[in-house]
Amino acid sequence: MSKQYQFKLVLLGESAVGKSSLVLRFVKDQFDDYRESTIGAAFLTQTVTLDDQTTVKFEIWDTAGQERYKSLAPMYYRNANCAVVVYDITQSASLEKARTWIRELQRQADPSIVIALCGNKLDLAARRQVSQEEAKKYADEEGLMWTETSAKTGEGVTEIFTAIAQKLPLTAPSATRAGGARAGPGARAGVDLNKQAASAGQPEACNC
């Protein structure tokens, strides 16, 4: 029995903390020194294989961090199974912003949402303004996952998405089969797609 899951993940956080860079690293293993600020919300997918049996497909929404578009954020985190709230470890103000996002998610998002707090730009640790202790303490208090990453070097990036993938199926709402049906917007939730493993091996003898 293999298990396939699909989850909606949303990235939130102040502008320029590196949300788009994290996604680019995760999905394409690339990094751009000069990325344009996101104006809108980009949709990407990436699949994580946990072991031979389980795969998790993330439907990722990378949102715009600019204040101007704040009112649209709820459209993107509604129905999300998980949220990665990013701050920049070299900007203490960005952690404040992250706290605001987390409060909003706790109030407005689906109560079962898994939230990960992510301190990015670990490669710039020399200019650190947010200590690991401070962030970790806050995350523990709020019951969030927490880690530090560098989209530039790739450190910690796959790990955080994998950790989320591991945690999600346990908390996902009861499984329903989608069977190719798109019940229309809003109807999606975590889906457990239990099914027979499609054997990719050599064809066997049978009248099929």
Binding site: F43, P185, Q196
Partner: protein, 1000 residues
């Protein structure tokens, strides 16, 4: 072309072809195209849940116009699950073990070895068709086919015994639906007519519901956008000219009478020399298309993909300007209709007629009368086809010279009367295709494309209160009137000889892959559709007022009819989308056509006193945007008095393209392939669109002005990119009402740039909304690219509050000049409201104070910029900047014009429409004054101060008729009609009379 690429043509893009196998139905002569079949396994991976499903397609080669095989026809589709299996055996021996690795080496090596395979369909897909056995040489391909089938069968998690209904399944194999519907494949993009109700909807409305963060079915939506684009492009690329067909349509409820009068007014329309045919002859005809270089006629655009695939050459790459001139089909008698289409109702009222056919005596009599009405021109015409259902007869006459251009003539009928069978109500319909004659020796067209025309003659439920029944009759007829493609035509009908041996007949009936029989064509699956009928829809105005209005000779017919048709039940049903949604009807200019009953009690106009007069007899139409239809006339013929209805006629022009169907198919295939190729090559990097500027500022937005901003959007990726705007929430609008955006959806090829236009135009309706909103206007537009990204575009502007387009009551509660208002709710308490709007008083006071020059006030056109200055002063509270010493005679005129514009912009009429009827009863000044008690205090004050000023200038003037003339202008302004009112309007003359009580 390889079998694979032929097959790719008929596969929709997210679906993947796993293997294609050439096979044949019988062993002998494997190469004969008649026997050849293509078997292919196609897989579909669901984007959302990652499941995979597979299908086996069986296709036949279609012999093209050129005799070559350049297209495949899908015949059967077998979902791979449950019982489905493929068994193969070598010819002459028993079954072969199917493992591809175990097919005996000898077979594989033996040249020309033939292997047979039989298919067992899954539950519910078996039928009585002969055994599904095929033969093939391609042993290797067969091995792959078999192993793919097995793999997909294992991957399927459909219950083995489940019988899946492909037409209705919403889960398993629902991706196959497009192959069943008529809108897949090249044929759908070219020859299969689209449902007019669908094609006339804005493209955006055909896409799945979607909003910010929740894309709809992006794959399907992108496909719809692509199909639409290809359909239009392919046609414009092969259009070599246009021809114009002239139609005259008529509808006549004859009330069971036999013809007893000259029908020429109705049939020909040129009785009494009303129509000057001479004039039309004098308009110069352009010389036939063939003598003109294509370049001189319109823009020529080449295949849009040529830029991207520069090396490939493609045929048929010119694109014609859509507005290019269409030449009349018949140059000999261009003023006469090419087709005369007449619908009769109540041809036969006898009881027997309801029960069994009573022969063609009445039809013959009416046809003779029609020919007689054509006079000397009758020799040019003959009957093409007719269809009768009891009282309803639809008959089409054609110019003899064009008769051979019409083919594929089909008829049908549906009863809507008792039990849905009895034909006292219902409809008959005729569908035909017209292939324009085209003779250009230089570039002959071998398989000319045709345009289909569909005519419906119907008779709906009677009586005033039956409007719901009529609406449901219409919906019912829309569903049930369909052409099955095989209905034998009446043998007596002259059509039989036309149809025979007509090699131009274009096969339009699509095949369902599963059944192989032609699907019936709905009446909406056509290029142009005309309904002519006795609808029996009535006018929702009380009988007595209706008759009074009709009788009112002082009220000019045009404005009277315009006012009355606003209450017409059909118009209302169309507006409310209850019936005839999407149909067009030319504005009615004639008097009601029902009911006249000589001898019975009738009113002064000849209308039956027992039946409320109504426009029961109508002509409505709808057409594909690729086929231009223009209505030239719409009239009744009151001189034909033999029935209780008056006949109605309508002239139309239909412009149709001249194109080669083979070229059209080639174009569509080419575009589809090019598109497909780009998509396959570049599956990654869909983040393609770049918007030049995502922040749009309209700055100050004020009343009466319009502004436009352009956004340039470029596709920087290497694959085609479809986009659409989406709202923030599913049910919210895509853009605020003060903004318009065009286009709202589309597709961009790599490197292509389009300009999206954002525009703002503040008319009185928009101003009325914005005046009650915060003045900072801002909105975020969301441009969604399929499968990739939501782009945000911020739009902002600062609205300038104006005193125009407000309620009187609101104006009296302003604290000062409206422009200074900080918030829309910053008003005086109701109890402190002033007597009358400050702005109106300022206008009247200024005019009163500068009353030396009143010439032309309210009557002459004003200087727009002066009106603008005056309005600005009213809005800002500033003093009027006009010098007192050197009076400009234009200024008082501008003040008067501003007052009229102000009154017109108010959200309500000074005297509300509900009181207009009462104005009719006023016989003197005192009574008129009493009516003012009904008005709000602000309205009374406005009325009194304006009329007092008018009274003053009229008294003083030497011109005796000044009051008359001013009242003519101002009465409709002060007593404005309300199109939403339930009270019927009154004539402009009555309004004027009422106003004159105050000013003369």
């Amino acid at each position: 072309m390889s079998t694979l690429s032929l097959f790719q043509d008929i596969i929709r893009s997210p679906d993947e072809v796993k293997v294609v196998l050439d096979a044949a139905l019988v062993t002998e002569n494997l190469e004969d195209t008649q026997n050849r079949r293509v078997l292919a396994v196609v897989s579909h991976k669901d984007d959302w849940d990652l499941t995979e499903e597979g299908c086996l397609f069986i296709c036949k080669y279609k012999v093209g116009a050129s005799g070559g095989v350049d297209e495949l026809d899908m015949q059967r589709v077998f979902p791979i699950y449950g019982q489905f299996s493929v068994v193969m055996r070598q010819m002459g021996r028993g079954p072969v073990n199917l493992r591809s690795d175990m097919v005996p080496k000898s077979v594989l090596q033996q040249p020309g070895a033939v292997i047979a395979l039989s298919i067992t369909p899954a539950e519910g897909f078996q039928d009585d068709s002969p055994l599904l056995t095929f033969f093939t040489h391609d042993v290797k391909g067969l091995g792959t086919l078999v192993s793919e089938c097995r793999r997909l069968k294992e991957a399927s998690d459909v219950d083995a015994n489940a019988a899946i209904d492909l037409a209705s399944s919403k889960t398993h194999f629902s991706w196959l639906k497009p192959y069943f519907e008529k809108n897949a494949t090249i044929a759908a993009l070219t020859s299969v007519p689209q449902d007019l109700r669908l094609i006339n909807q804005p493209l955006l409305d055909r896409l799945s519901p979607s909003c910010a963060g929740l894309p709809g079915d992006d794959h399907a939506d992108a496909q719809i956008i692509k199909d639409d684009w290809i359909r239009r492009k392919a046609r414009t690329m092969c259009r070599v000219g246009k021809r114009k067909l002239k139609l005259r349509l008529g509808t006549f409820n004859v009330n069971g009478k036999m013809p007893s009068q000259d029908l020429s007014a109705w049939v020909q329309g040129n009785v009494n020399g009303l129509r000057s045919t001479k004039l039309e002859k004098e308009t110069p005809e352009l010389p036939p298309m063939m003598n003109i270089s294509p370049l001189s006629l319109g823009e020529v655009i080449s295949n849009p993909f040529n830029r991207i695939f520069p090396k490939k050459s493609s045929p048929h790459q010119t694109e014609w300007d859509v507005n290019q001139y269409a030449i009349r089909v018949d140059l000999d008698n261009p003023e006469d209709p090419d087709l005369l289409v007449l619908g009769f109702q109540e041809l036969d009222l006898s009881t027997e007629a309801l029960l069994y056919s009573t022969g063609t005596a009445r039809e013959d009599a009416w046809c003779l009368a029609v020919l007689a009405a054509l006079g000397e021109k009758a020799v040019n015409y003959e009957k093409l086809v007719s269809k009768q259902l009891v009282g309803m007869l639809l008959v089409i006459f054609v110019k003899k010279s064009l008769q051979s251009c019409f083919s594929n003539i089909r008829t049908c009928y549906a009863g809507a009367g008792i039990l849905g069978v009895m034909g006292n109500k219902g409809g008959t319909a005729v569908r035909l295709t017209f292939t324009p004659p085209y003779d250009d020796s230089k570039s002959p067209i071998t398989s000319p494309g045709s345009t289909s025309l569909t005519f419906v003659n119907a008779h709906l439920a009677a009586f005033d209160e039956m409007v719901d029944k009529r609406n449901s009759d219409f919906l019912d007829l829309s569903k049930r009137l369909s052409f099955d493609g095989f209905e034998p035509l009446r043998s007596s009908s002259p059509v039989s000889d036309t149809d025979a041996g007509d090699d131009r007949t274009v096969v339009e009936i699509p095949q369902t892959p599963a059944i192989g029989a032609p699907l019936p064509l709905s009446i909406y699956e056509t290029d142009s559709l005309f309904w002519m009928l006795d609808l029996n829809y009535r006018v929702d105005v009380p009988d007595t007022s209706l008759r009074k209005m009709l009788r009112d000779e002082e009220w000019p017919n045009d404005t009277k009819i315009e006012a009355l048709t606003r209450f017409d039940q059909l118009r209302k049903s169309i507006r409310d989308k209850k019936a005839f949604h999407g149909f067009k009807e030319m504005p009615i200019k004639h008097l009601p056509t029902y009911r006249f009953s000589p001898g019975l009690a009738m009113d002064a106009m000849g209308y039956d006193l027992k039946r409320k007069p109504a426009w029961t007899d109508r002509v409505l139409y709808m057409h594909d945007p690729l086929c231009r239809v223009e209505q030239l006339s719409y009239t009744s013929h009151p001189q034909i008095t033999m029935s209780d209805h008056r006949p109605v006629s309508a002239d139309f022009e239909v412009d149709m393209d001249i194109y080669d169907t083979a070229a059209l198919n080639a174009n569509a295939r080419k575009l589809l392939n090019d598109m497909h190729e780009l998509e396959l090559e570049n599956t990654s990097g869909r983040e393609g669109l770049k918007i030049q500027d995502t922040y749009v500022d309209f700055e100050k937005i004020s009343y009466g002005t319009s502004a436009e901003r352009k956004l340039s959007v470029r596709n920087t990726s290497k694959s085609p990119c479809a986009f659409r705007f989406v709202p923030v929430q599913i049910d919210s609008p895509i853009h605020p009402e003060w903004l318009s955006v065009h286009p709202l959806t589309g597709i961009l090829l790599p490197d292509e740039v389009i300009t999206i236009t954002l525009s703002v135009q503040i008319d009185k309706d928009i101003a009325a909304i914005l005046n009650t909103r915060p003045k900072d206007l801002s909105a975020t537009l969301i441009l969604h690219t399929m499968m990739a990204k939501d782009h945000f575009i911020s739009v902002s502007g600062e609205y300038q509050y104006t005193c125009f387009a407000n309620k009187l009551a609101r104006l009296t509660r302003l604290r000062g000049a409206i422009r200074a208002m900080q918030s829309p709710d910053d008003l005086l308490p109701e109890t402190n409201a002033i007597n009358a709007p400050r702005e109106i008083m300022r206008l009247v006071n200024w005019m009163m104070a500068h009353n030396e020059h009143v010439d032309g006030m309210f009557l002459s056109p004003a200087n727009d910029s002066q009106v603008h200055i005056i309005r600005e002063c009213l809005d800002t509270g500033e003093a009027f900047p006009f010098k007192e010493q050197t009076p400009d005679p234009q200024i008082p005129i501008a003040f008067a014009a501003t007052l009229i514009a102000f009154l017109n912009s108010l959200t309500e009429s000074i005297i509300p429409a509900t009181l207009h009827q009462r104005c009719l009863d006023m016989t003197n000044r005192d009574e008129a004054f009493e009516l003012l008690d009904e008005l709000s205090p602000a309205a009374v004050n406005v009325w009194i101060s304006i009329t007092a000023f008018l009274h003053f200038i009229c008294q003083r003037s030497k011109e005796k008729d000044l009051a008359e003339r001013i009242a003519t202008v101002l009465a409709p302004v002060l007593l404005r009609d309300d199109s939403n009112s339930f009270v019927p309007p009154i004539s402009p003359l009555r309004k004027k009379k009422f106003l004159l009580y105050f000013i003369s």
